[in-house]
Symmetry: C2
């Protein structure tokens, strides 16, 4: 059936962030609906943020366009432009290589959810606020100087 029954899509609460960088996403629950539906052209993830949780550390992609649409609840987009409230139906786009570190934070007292469109694991991802870089070619997180995390 084309209409998704989210209960049939596995929900994951993991992250590859090293050490304490993982703390901000401890309340992030992701369903990879693109994989579940065998989509090849793009990825699609349904993300629920518990109160206090963030979508990610603030980041931008060299080689991946991202689009986010809020589904329910309230969140705040934090990026180089400041803080922007997001509510149901709001759409935000992050063209590849824009250099605008961004993330979505649930500062409300209730869960919120969004749908994220993009691709996976490609290229380099920059994290302007912390000593972290995603090296897509090596498929690993690194320090900004390129050295490995233990």
């Amino acid at each position: 059936m084309p209409k998704l029954d989210l209960d049939t899509v596995p929900e994951r609460n993991t992250t590859g962030y090293p050490g304490s960088y993982a703390d901000d996403v401890a309340g992030r629950f992701v369903r990879r609906i693109g994989d579940a539906a065998r989509l090849a052209d793009f990825g699609a993830s349904h993300v629920v943020l518990r109160p206090g949780a963030a979508s990610a550390q603030r980041h931008w992609h060299e080689e991946e366009d991202e689009l986010v649409v809020m589904l329910w609840g309230e969140a705040v987009l934090v990026d180089d432009h400041g803080r922007t409230p997001l509510g149901p139906g709001d759409i935000a786009v992050f063209p590849m290589n824009d250099g605008n570190g961004h993330r979505i934070v649930n500062e409300s007292g209730a869960d919120c959810a969004f749908l994220a469109i993009g691709r996976d694991g490609t290229g380099v991802v920059h994290y302007p606020d912390i000593d972290l870089k995603w090296n897509g070619a090596a498929d690993r997180y690194e320090h900004k100087d390129g050295s490995a995390y233990d």
Copy 2:
């Protein structure tokens, strides 16, 4: 700004459907936000359907994955499985080459809106109910036998 102001994105009400096939989409208003935001990895269109309007003639793509998420209002997904109501936050996916002709119809008395993710103009699009085919290589609509529309 990453958060989209839809009022800044041109709205179009055109179709390339020949003859009376255009009638069903007369109340369809499309904003191509992927183009406006210079996204390259995928296309994204914000679509408003007036009461009685359809998203398209019922169709399926040989070479394009599609994903739809309802933003507001109520609609009905019509496909080979029958009729499925869609409301805000509902997500439907149409993997390429699935052979499942689909469209979204606004049978309510008020406008509705959805976001559609996909690509543009690629491959062949089949229309099971009518004498129509999209020929991506030739960039034109054709009769099912491959002959041109006048």
